[in-house]
Amino acid sequence: MWARALKEKVTFHDGCHGLRELGTKEAPRELLRAVKGLELVEMGEAESCCGFGGMFAVKYPQISTAMAEVKCNSIVETGVDYVVSNDSSCLMQIQGYLSRHSPRVVKSLHLAEVLAQQ
């Protein structure tokens, strides 16, 4: 996806279950840092929930969307082109919001997708 020589900027979204149930904070970042040509830029709201939450996302769409807004504004602010996470539900929510509302194209990727490019 990215040429080796090119610098790609990504930010990482901590999925709640990975972060708080499993206590995984550094491991995915370490993996990302090991990818050549990739620069990790931290966002302010990295640990904030994206607002997915399963049925919550459709039962309380207004709250879920407000949470996505906070998350995605923080992503866009970093100036990255990609947001990476290891939770596909979060990515569905984040991509869903970004494609509709983001002023510029920011794509979401699963950590495995990034690593599989190597």
Binding site: E47, S48, C49, G53, F56, Y60, P61, M92, G96
Partner: protein
Amino acid sequence: MINLQEPQEQFQHDADRTTADEPRRAAVRKALGNYQIARGKTENAFASWQHARDAAATIKYEGVNHLDQYLREFEEKFTARGGKVFWASNSAQAREYILNLARERGVKSIVKSKAMTSEEIHLNDALEKDGYHVIESDLGEFIQQLKHEPPYHFVFPCMHLKRDEISALFERELGSAKTDSPEELTMIARRVLRQHYINADMGISGGNFIVAETGMISITENEGNARLTTALPKIHVALIGIEKIVPRLADLSLFLPMLATAGTGQQLTCYNSMYGGPRLPGEVDGPEEFHVVLLDNHRTRLLADAEQRDALHCIRCGACLNVCPIFKNIGGHAYGTTYQGPIGSVITPHYRGLQDWKHLSGASSLCGACTEACPVKIDIHHHLLQNRRNAVAEKKVWWEKLIWFGFRHLMKRPWAYKLAIRLAPVGQLFHPFVYGTELDPVQSWTKTRDFPEAATQSFHDWWRERKGARK
């Protein structure tokens, strides 16, 4: 008959309104961002915040699981010094006791310091209906009282208001001049309040801890108003939930800094006072009568629930609200409860009925930020899950049942699952015709977010065909 759907509908409606108010959300986010920074620093002042949490949870476990013993120990020691203890099973009994007392003693004017229990039993309404003049002395509560609004947050009652809104409120209600200075605003309130302390013949407070060992109650505050409320009027009533018990005085050496840290990011609140009863012979100040009303009001119902009993460990620090993304986006009033935020969503169904208040447990992404922040290690977000389970076990929701029935059958049959995956791209061809409209089956998603495109190749197919796959 009460319409059972009402609180739920009201909640949806209020959440629609408050999530659309981005300036207010941004202000709350900023204030709580500052809290987070301050709290982070004070947490680091503990040798180990995590060990402190373990210790606190152990102490509260001990207290809550021996409530009978410790509450009686408190009563015995407190009454030995001339204090009075009243055991209120419910809000009506608590209100009656306080109203009777006011009536018998010919009370006219009442000054109050912060007490969420009094919000819980709607004490102000009852007192005012009987003709008493009641004034809140905590600055935030004072402002909310002038606004005729309940507290927005049980630790920061008016955190949602901006300075100019408070100034305008004071101009309107107190006739003061417009000002942008927080100090001046405080002085305006102080001038009004001082007079009331002197005139009041009854003081009402809450209490942060009940210490069994010494028969005392502990009140923590930042403004000194609770001290004046307890010291000046002749009669004092402290209205406290029974779960506020701690066994020993030494326990406060952990809980006072912990409450301050988790609550506001302070190392200690400005005033921490202990009260052991009325003024004794030879003492220069304090009330002549000191009553403690121990409030159950369905706390024992929670106590009977072994799975969620630890919710009674709560020291009402408000940390779970401060980190909650739901609270930050819908604000405190949308909950429609005395206790807002995650802990409110856990306990309100126990206090006020599961079917009426179960929606609050549903209105969570279960992100777990609350549980992580809780100083006494209440398993808050799992309790929300248990409330959901209990609500469904008690009363099924037909359309949810239908969905899970379909889902279960699909997931149990690989052929059906594979078929559904193959049909998804075909089905999606028709989606644009109804996208985002009432006919769209996923409208509540597509109204605000794009729906992901179904992949043309399933993961299964890709896995089978990938290079080097074993055939």
